[in-house]
Subunit: 428 residues, 2 copies
């Protein structure tokens, strides 16, 4: 209804003054059946104001309203041989703010999400410790707790894009990420409980962490990181971890690749070397142009993406005021600035951060602009507090070549057409 | 299994050294059927490590695992005549951290939760404005957005406790509260869009806000607050508001009583006086001892509660290390300190805040202690950045008497028995 208004408006104020006029009619139109006559419509009371709604006993635990039924995790069947060892994607194109609800936060399993009761849960700490310990879930709840908001990004996020623009939607190009408030115990506390005297000099020591699922998903973590900020988390966004997120306890490894955030954490062994397990040799390494591979590329580099407009979130309101929004994050610290380009990186505008960036957590950015229907090559570029600047795809390929799957943090480009539709493209 | 260990342990380290020994057996016991023989148990592989779990296509939108089925909103049927105009309670006794998931965040409705589609949604701004405006949902999405974490507390929270200890559980005494990250547009932006020139001097002006549900739940808000930090929110914790939280848009009135956070917000009228509607005269006022009533008691005073241990979260692990945890908040600013008493307020220990308090948001506190099985009268006392100190029930009654229902922010007392059970009691 307000297309015409938009076409003739240049400023937000002008736009809405106009919109108001047309909307007055729209208000009425929206308030009764489309076939009713105007004179009837003026006095019509909307049906939802004439009836009683649901009582407070309707949904002891609520789900999203049916009108949001498309805002769900989605998997790409052809990506993997089986959904048991696969990934699904967070619908970041439809979310705002920074917190990811557990119900739509992406999952990655190597042998499926297992059912492990709290009473059956055990965590063993062994190896080079003074006293090997086994903790029950109830034991873990008796140690001092911490609360932190951190992002968890799969190293394969954006991995399909190395060779070119492949997947059409921010959910699929950048949706292997979520951001939650974790409550749990620091790994340092548990390691000190077992005692690290037996380990001697800690600077070259490691911990090997494994999960209780059939894959066990073993990974080695340098002791320095293990004693810094790694957590054993049992709550996310206030409530128990969901089954698919590692109930009843998972490892949280702030800023580092998601594969190390071992779910259903079962054992932590202090060792004098890295295990170099399958997950850190044949997988989660980056093969370069010359055939050699980068390994132990744990830290997730600074990265960002415009979530709206994007292929799944096109511009439907025509010309005029447009909110460009997206997410930025860095595994090395806090986001200090995000720039947005409308012309494929030739010129940049500094976006507004909804809040100052927090270390190893998602940051929401906005650029409030007017769109006059021109074609746009939309990009965002993240800068973190180490001074690191998110690279272009060309810059990344110069260093890494085309053989990599993991750790693609290059600048994403969306082509916005005059009709408001958006697609995933590559600019050289 | 570790009862005996606990009885003989005095320190956390001693406790866990002991627990480890017993837990080694427990690990085995937990790893196979209770009837299997020890020699078999030693080599047993847990069933959840022998089977594949759920694939990533199992739950496009996930719910909590079945083992957490009791962590839900609960209502108290005898509190109100009908569930359509009633309240349910957040299970704060079972949550940690600060974020409340929408699915278990308390609801209060006056005529039920209505089904209002985005395409049918309209927001009118009228009254003393230069240009009355009607916004569609799509219009709202085109204004600059903000993100803030705020608590929303019903003025009736803890209201049953005026006359004495009534409800046995933190969920029921203090569960009319939730804390979410809201994304939306500031009301100031929309009022300035309509233009406030026609309102003249703004200092004595008001806005009257009403919802699209049958109750309309109209409330008056002073212009000063309306132009300060009030939001029209359309996302909570990143995703669309749930139906029961006002989908597609609700008012957010930081720090002020939940009744003013009008859901399905339909109209905002700029006026030269307060309407003094039913909701601000016959309800949401506080009748004092002499029969006169306090009105316009919008700001929620500083308050706190120990969520664990509490009646629904008793001590089940026996003597030794105990984590005392709870929530604190203030409608006037940030929480700066929380004290915890084990002896009904005779002596106090300063609790550890998980993070520095944020304005008008929940703060999580912890007290890491050793419990030797003695009876405790557990209390918490919040202090905010205005210097306000949460009062005792006696202090509150001296000022307010016993006729009030709303705005009970007094110190809560839990009686912890030697067997670990907890009940709601009153201390004089």
């Amino acid at each position: 209804m307000s297309e015409q208004t938009h076409k003739t408006s240049q400023s937000r104020r002008a736009f809405l003054r106009g919109a108001a006029a047309t909307s007055a009619g729209a208000l009425v139109a929206g308030s009764a059946s489309a076939n009713a006559k105007p004179d009837k419509l003026i006095t019509a009371i909307q049906p939802w104001a004439q009836e009683l709604g649901d009582g407070v006993d309707a949904t002891p635990y609520g789900l999203p309203i049916e009108h949001e039924a498309d805002v769900i995790r989605r998997n790409v069947p052809w990506l993997t041989a089986d959904a048991i060892s696969s990934i699904n994607f967070t619908p970041i194109h439809a979310l705002d703010g920074t917190i990811t609800p557990q119900g739509c936060a992406f999952e990655r399993h190597h042998s499926g999400a297992i059912d492990l009761k709290k009473e059956d849960y055990r965590l063993m700490i062994n190896g080079l410790v003074d006293t090997p310990l086994v903790f029950t879930y109830a034991d873990l709840e008796r140690f001092p707790r911490e609360n932190h908001v951190y992002f968890c990004e799969c190293a394969a996020n954006t991995g399909m894009e190395w060779a070119g623009a492949q997947l059409n939607g921010a959910q699929f190009t950048h949706g292997m990420i979520h951001n939650m408030e974790y409550s749990g115990v620091s790994l340092r506390t548990l390691l000190e409980e077992a005692g690290l005297g037996a380990a001697g000099d800690l600077k070259d020591k490691w911990v090997f962490v494994e999960g209780a699922d059939a894959s066990s998903n073993g990974r080695s973590i340098p002791m320095e990181k293990a004693l810094d900020d790694v957590m054993i988390a049992f709550k996310a966004n206030g409530e128990a971890l969901r089954k698919e997120h590692g109930y009843p306890a998972r490892l949280v490894v702030p800023g580092w690749e998601g594969n190390m955030w071992v779910k259903w954490i079962r054992r932590i062994e202090v060792m004098d070397q890295a295990v170099e397990s399958r997950e850190e040799t044949s997988k989660y390494t980056d093969t370069l142009e010359d055939g050699t591979s980068r390994k132990w590329t744990w830290e997730m580099d600074a990265k960002s993406v415009v979530t709206s407009p994007s292929p799944q979130s096109p511009i439907t309101h025509g010309k005029g005021p447009l909110v460009i929004s997206g997410l930025a994050w860095s595994g090395r610290g806090a986001i200090t600035r995000v720039d947005v380009s409308k012309d494929g990186g030739m010129t940049w505008e500094t976006a507004r951060l909804a809040k100052p960036g927090e270390p190893m957590a998602l940051t929401r950015f906005y650029l409030d602009t007017d769109w006059n229907g021109e074609e746009m090559l939309l990009q965002s570029r993240a800068i973190d507090d180490t001074g690191y600047i998110q690279p272009t795809k060309t810059q990344l390929r110069e260093v890494r070549g085309l053989n990599s799957i993991y750790h693609n943090n290059c600048i994403q480009t969306w082509l916005v057409s005059p009709n408001g539709e958006v697609e995933n493209v590559e600019v050289s």
